[in-house]
């Protein structure tokens, strides 16, 4: 056990699985880096250095740089998964899904069903998401609702280094296509992370705070903010449960329902654009299945329905933050009074 950054946690998970299983390969643009270049051996390891060190250890046969052809290499990863490898492909920014979504949602996701059950597609697609980096409209999106919508995909959104390592190892060992979302603002966050390999199951939510007054569900980087909000609210006498579902597909709706039944109040924090997002998904499921327990309207904390702005002044306003979460919780605490049926 040692303190490790989110970046190191992801790296270690992949490294350990590559060591364990020769069928695990890694591919992506500059994922080793330097292909064909003078300084080929001392290269990037991904644009933000997440895969640095894998190539020296496992060689270029298992750590493959690619040309800028996401449909080509993500499709190749899907085909390789279908035929016996366990590829970990890097879609550098999830914003680039638009040039290769077909290979993900019509090919990899549907093989098993279309082929009558006979396929297995152990593919992991790692991808960077989220705002806060001043990376503007085309490099700051979340987009995990689009993947969650697709039957056949699993969607993983780790919220800390500890989760990142355990969920990545689980993802690589999983036999279905998994989209693994890494928030670019989390890479430098540190945490205690065991040295040995371990897995965290998909579809099992993690309770990061427990309380009686309200339930907060949050995803990815938003879990940190939700914890902070819960701590501040706790100091003010409002005790909150914070749920990190860890995966949106499968989703541990049972835990969410159970906690909402206990507190009667729900706030969902989702960094994704507000329409048809995870906050709506969860609110809808709860409004259907734990309706009787609700003491207040369900509040969603999401950005406005706009592209992500570049200017720091606007991006900070755009993003959910601790303040906004606190005021949503205060709102559900204040609400009350409903017609009886």
């Amino acid at each position: 056990m040692a303190r490790k950054s989110f970046r190191q946690a992801v790296n270690e998970a992949i490294r350990q699985e590559m060591a364990r299983d020769p069928r695990v390969i890694v591919m992506g643009e500059d994922i080793a880096g330097g292909m064909g270049a003078p300084g080929e051996d001392d290269a990037w390891g991904g644009p933000l250095g997440v895969t640095k060190g894998l190539m020296p250890q496992f060689g270029r046969e298992r750590v493959l740089d690619t040309p800028i052809t996401e449909s080509g290499f993500i499709g190749a990863a899907a085909g390789a998964a279908l035929t016996g490898l366990r590829p970990v492909a890097d879609l550098m920014f999830v914003d680039f899904m638009g040039v290769c979504f077909d290979q993900i949602f019509n090919q990899a996701a549907k093989f098993k069903y279309m082929f009558g059950g006979k396929a297995r597609t152990p593919l992991v697609i790692r991808t960077m998401y989220g705002a806060g980096f001043r990376a503007a409209s085309q490099h700051s999106q979340c987009l995990y609702p689009l993947f969650t919508h697709v039957p056949g995909l699993k969607v993983v959104i780790p919220s800390s280094p500890y989760e990142a390592k355990g969920l990545m190892i689980e993802a690589i060992r999983d036999d279905d296509p998994v989209i693994f979302f890494e928030h670019k603002m989390l890479y430098d966050v540190e945490d205690e992370v065991p040295d040995e390999p371990y897995t965290l199951p998909f579809g099992e939510a993690n309770l990061t705070r427990e309380g009686d007054d309200a339930t907060i569900v949050a995803f990815g980087r938003m879990v940190m903010l939700a914890n902070e909000a819960a701590d501040q609210l706790g100091a003010q006498g409002i005790s909150c449960t914070v749920i990190d579902p860890r995966t949106t597909s499968p989703l541990d709706i049972e835990t969410i329902l159970e906690e909402v039944r206990a507190t009667g109040r729900l706030v969902v924090v989702d960094e994704a654009s507000p329409r048809c997002n995870m906050a709506s998904d969860i609110a809808a499921q709860v409004a259907e299945r734990a309706f009787e327990a609700l003491k207040a309207p369900i509040r969603r904390v999401s950005p406005p329905h706009t592209p992500v702005p570049f200017s720091p002044a606007l991006e900070d306003l755009y993003l959910p933050d601790v303040e906004k979460i606190i005021s949503a919780v205060r709102a559900v605490m204040a609400a009350g009074g409903r017609k009886a049926a």
């Binding site: 069928r23 390969i25 046969e61 298992r62 493959l64 690619t66 040309p67 052809t69 996401e70 449909s71 080509g72 290499f73 993500i74 499709g75 190749a76 990863a77 899907a78 085909g79 390789a80 998964a81 279908l82 035929t83 016996g84 490898l85 590829p87 077909d102 290979q103 019509n106 090919q107 093989f111 098993k112 069903y113 279309m114 082929f115 009558g116 059950g117 006979k118 396929a119 297995r120 039957p151 056949g152 699993k154 999983d174 036999d175 279905d176 579809g203 499968p250």
Partner: protein, 321 residues
């Protein structure tokens, strides 16, 4: 490369099976019993069979929406295919895939594909598996003239080139993508494009089984030996509409009749093996009769087979969830 008598018989059987399968699906579709979109391969048999005769079960192919011929050439069970097209539980994909999604991974058939250009990247993946695990296998990506313009095709070819993958791209240029002529839709020359990706290519008469077989054999052998990807541009023709129901107003009125009379791959094959006295008519006729019985049987069984049961709706989405 000289084909043995047994190989020639196998090739003819395979081409005949495709032809009769497709003629039967065409007839059955007209009765209204077959659901959905169906794209028939009749006329193009020399391509699927000429290429796949060079492959083993370990090798993979990625196919297209017009996939029946590739499936049969790669050894898929004909009765299972017919049942699939009828949406039956006994279908190769348990009725969930249909004509556009027939696959048989045990035979290296990675699926027909409803997305034009969708298969080429997948074939690269199969080739990557072969290369990484050093299995000695190769992969083939079939694609039409329409697909040759799709960006995914270009990306896959470049990727295959820089990774030196054991994959062969087979462009089945049947003159049309739906109603659009390939002479119009392809700016430039596919062979030059392949060269632009660093891939050696050759143009072949796709009606001529022997020419296809030889050219594919060469490209596949080179790929298998680590020589990197190859490319074939086959000129051929489909006999039916783009999909069943297509009135083909965009084709010349006598186009298909002429092709059937003069450029039919089965007739050319028979003439060639007859002239060279490699096979006699009796042997070939016997094959045709056997195939006819097989197709009849497959069709009868497909029609009689039960539909999937309601519980099947929810299975096979994930390995575990």
């Amino acid at each position: 490369m000289q084909l043995s008598r047994e190989e020639l018989l196998r090739a003819y059987r395979s081409m005949c099976t495709i032809r009769q399968f497709e003629e039967r699906v065409h007839a059955e579709f007209a009765t209204g019993d077959i659901p959905g979109f169906v794209h028939l391969y009749a006329g193009e048999e020399a391509s699927a069979v000429g290429v796949c005769m060079n492959l083993t079960e370990r090798d993979s192919i990625a196919s297209t929406h017009r996939g029946h011929g590739h499936c049969i050439a790669k050894g898929c069970d004909v009765a299972g295919m017919m049942a699939e097209i009828y949406g039956r539980k006994s279908g190769l994909c348990a009725g969930k895939g249909g004509s556009m999604h027939i696959a048989d991974l045990d035979r290296g058939m990675l699926g027909a594909n409803g997305i034009v250009g969708g298969g080429a990247p997948l074939a690269c993946g199969a080739a990557l598996t072969a290369k990484t695990l050093k299995t000695g296998a190769v992969a083939v990506a079939f694609g039409g003239d329409g697909a040759s313009n799709q960006g995914t095709t270009a990306e896959a070819m470049n990727l295959a080139s820089v990774w030196r993958l054991p994959v062969v791209f087979v462009l089945e240029d049947n003159g049309y993508a739906e109603s659009t002529a390939s002479a119009w839709s392809i700016g430039g020359d596919p062979l030059v494009r392949a060269e632009g990706f660093g891939i050696p290519g050759v143009r072949v008469d796709g009606h001529d089984f022997f020419a296809v077989h030889a050219a594919a054999g060469e490209a596949i052998a080179r790929a298998r030996d680590g020589g990197g990807p190859g490319f074939l541009h086959l000129k051929l023709a489909r006999y039916f509409g783009h999909f069943e129901g297509d009135g083909m107003t965009y084709r010349a009125p006598d186009e298909v009749a002429k092709l059937r009379a003069e450029r039919d791959c089965l007739k050319l094959f028979r003439r060639r093996v007859g002239e060279a006295q490699l096979l006699d008519d009796a042997a070939l006729d016997a094959i045709e009769a056997e195939v006819a019985a097989e197709i009849e049987d497959a069709t009868r069984r497909a029609k009689a087979a039960p539909m999937p049961s309601p519980a099947d709706l929810l299975t096979d989405v994930y390995v575990s969830y």
